[in-house]
Amino acid sequence: MIRVRDLRKTYPTRFGENLVLDGISFDLDRGERLGILGRNGAGKSTMVRLISGAERPTSGSIESSMSISWPLAFGGAFQHQLTGVDNIRFISTIYDQDFDTNLAFVEDFAELGPYLREPVRTYSSGMRARLAFAISMIIEFDCFLIDEIGAVGDARFHDRCNYELFEKRADRAMIIISHDAAYVRDHCNRWGVLHDGKLAQYDDFELAYADFKELIGWKPPPGWLELQVSTA
């Protein structure tokens, strides 16, 4: 169980304090997958960073009896001068895990072939994404934080990621941020809309999405209704 209470976060800017999160509270249990919608700059990633423990809130509390992952954003936390293997060894040591098992898993999952032994800076963005995701999967967490995962990679890679996350780890808690509403709809069982520092929560995706569309000022393009009718 993760218990978030009255989470507030302000950042100092040249124009005074900028209030990003203004009293966020929610609980998250195993098996629950919370999808967060919000405009650019609404504070989604900030909220995830606070929950990951990488950053401290200005006030409020996050209590957890579960282990929480780092935010699984692609292209993330590795050293680009080092090789893929070096990065796997580093993460394995940090989390006190068996290096050989992890190496075997990443070799199989990321399909980087000999590039696994080359510096990460020589990788394409798709290759980095595969390595980052594979490394994220070698450490078992109770709660996964997923920040915009659908951004890179091909269809085959997406299918493999979805299988690892939502089938093999269906019993874990997850917080998922995405601008891809369909992704959030398909993979979550609770939803939230973050706006003006507040989090509105929903048990029904359609309600959440309707509010979200209103917030971003989404208007149907001309001809939208006819299209809807004709495909229905």
């Binding site: 960073r49 990488a54 950053e55 080092l82 070096d86 580093f90 040591t93 940090i94």
Partner: protein, 267 residues
């Protein structure tokens, strides 16, 4: 506050965790800095050795006036090695956190671990360089062996302690202000000639002695010299000044690190 880990960690356990984390950071740092090309991590101490050898040759060639009859090779070795120790540690810690922000996503890596790994690397490099050069010079009869090895080590450790505390303080401050990086370069350059590396305190006029003895590094260098040359060095240092000062700076460093840890924003 923030996420509380489920199990309370015992002291030996958390020490083991710390050692593991710092070890991993150390390896990562070495691979990043020196890579696997040519002599690889040997650069760790080859680079400071080249510096020290160069300065020794320069000072010998210009018959540098150091105000004593001590052999110039020994004088340069003890002096310049000391400079490397207190100057490189802050140099490596300033902006270290900016370069490693992504690591803050791993909750068992703390800000202090990042500094500790870099300090150990700098201390190791400077020490290996000092000892290796000393052994080579002693074996080739350029240098007399030290009079009191323990005193040399003591002076060396005091320099390292002061350097480390200064490094962590400046490192943490540099995360909040770019001025630290900008000012450290001229400051370290200006302190160098005053740090005792290039003169003996005893050779200075009385009023100048009183002034330079305010500079903490001078005490460490003088102690190293006394350990090496014995009474011949006529060293001036006061452990009653430099130890409390280093202790106070250490406390300041730890406070600064805590303060930074609460404000760090990972990229």
């Amino acid at each position: 506050m923030a996420t509380t880990p489920p199990q309370p960690a015992s002291l030996p356990h958390s020490l083991r965790v710390n050692a593991r984390i710092i070890g991993a950071l150390l390896v990562r740092e070495m691979l990043t800095r020196y890579g696997r090309h040519n002599i690889g991590f040997l650069w760790l101490f080859v680079e400071p050795m080249i510096f020290t050898i160069g300065v020794t040759i320069l000072w010998t060639a210009t018959k540098s006036v150091h105000g004593s009859d001590l052999p110039i090779v020994a004088f340069a070795l003890t002096g310049y090695s000391s400079v490397l120790l207190w100057r490189n540690m802050p140099g490596r810690c300033i902006n270290a956190l900016w370069a490693n922000l992504a690591l803050m996503y791993h909750r068992n890596i703390k800000v202090l671990d990042i500094y500790a790994a870099r300090l150990l690397l700098e201390f190791g490099g400077a020490t290996i360089s000092f000892v290796t050069l000393a052994l080579i010079l002693i074996l080739s009869a350029w240098l007399e062996p030290p009079d009191d090895v323990l005193k040399v080590a003591g002076g060396w450790l005091i320099l390292a302690w002061f350097g480390a505390a200064l490094a962590v303080t400046l490192g943490a401050l540099s995360h909040h202000s770019e001025l630290v990086d900008k000012l450290w370069h001229p400051a370290s350059y200006l302190i160098f000639p005053l740090s005792g590396a290039a003169f003996l305190v005893d050779a200075l006029p009385k009023f100048a002695q009183e002034i330079v003895l305010w500079i903490p590094m001078v005490h460490g260098v003088e102690m190293v010299r006394e350990g090496w040359f014995g009474d011949q060095a006529r060293a001036h240092y006061d452990l009653g000044y430099v130890i409390p000062l280093s202790l106070a700076l250490t406390v300041a460093a730890l406070v600064m690190v805590r303060w930074t840890e609460r404000r760090v924003v990972p990229e």
